[in-house]
Symmetry: C2
Subunit: 121 residues, 2 copies
């Protein structure tokens, strides 16, 4: 039913443009959760939270599975690969545009390199 694994940046960035949904992703980064738990955490009706989860699911950022009465939500395995890739490519264009005259950009690039490669195992 739901389309997975599509590099749909529109849907993904759209999903990320809402603070509640970003919060849900952060929450799911710590532990899987049911719709009820998420709704309580974000002070919202079940129906409202279900919609948010639906948006995240459509964007391929979250997967859900219903067992008995409970629908459990977890992070999608795809992660934010496509989105990170687009942003990184754009950041390179940015850097090129400001090449040689923007120290800040250079600093940021270095910082990112360090942070990014550190966690890799």
């Amino acid at each position: 039913m739901v389309q997975y694994c599509r590099p749909n940046l529109d849907a993904a960035f759209g999903a990320l443009s809402d603070a509640t949904r970003r919060g849900v992703l952060e929450q799911l980064g710590r532990a899987d959760a049911s719709i009820t738990v998420l709704a309580e955490r974000f002070q919202m009706t079940l129906t409202g939270m279900k919609k948010h989860v639906g948006v995240l699911e459509q964007a391929g950022l979250v997967t859900t599975e219903k067992v008995g009465r409970v629908r459990t939500c977890r992070l999608g395995v795809r992660g934010l690969q496509e989105e990170a890739a687009w942003i990184e490519r754009q950041r390179q264009l940015w850097a090129a545009r400001f090449d040689g005259l923007d120290v800040v950009v250079e600093e940021l690039k270095q910082k990112e390199k360090v942070n990014g490669r550190n966690k890799r195992k």
Copy 2:
């Protein structure tokens, strides 16, 4: 510091959720451009393009300057720093959730490509 730091992720990700606006950013990554040029490139009225540029400007991704009749648009110096940072942090959570399961994740990704996810039912 040119920080100009409004970490308004809502606005930024919202701006990125439209293909036309991502295209404008890519375009501006190659060269500055006027509203007219952008409107022609993306086959849109001046007014329509002005709105898009307004959204990008509001999100801090683009700056504009009017000289004479012409408003020139260029990439904002802030870049996609905040957005990249959020995504990177989230990717770390993702990785942590799937920690030690790297091989499994790879497998799932492959399966997903093949099956199109029919785990329901």
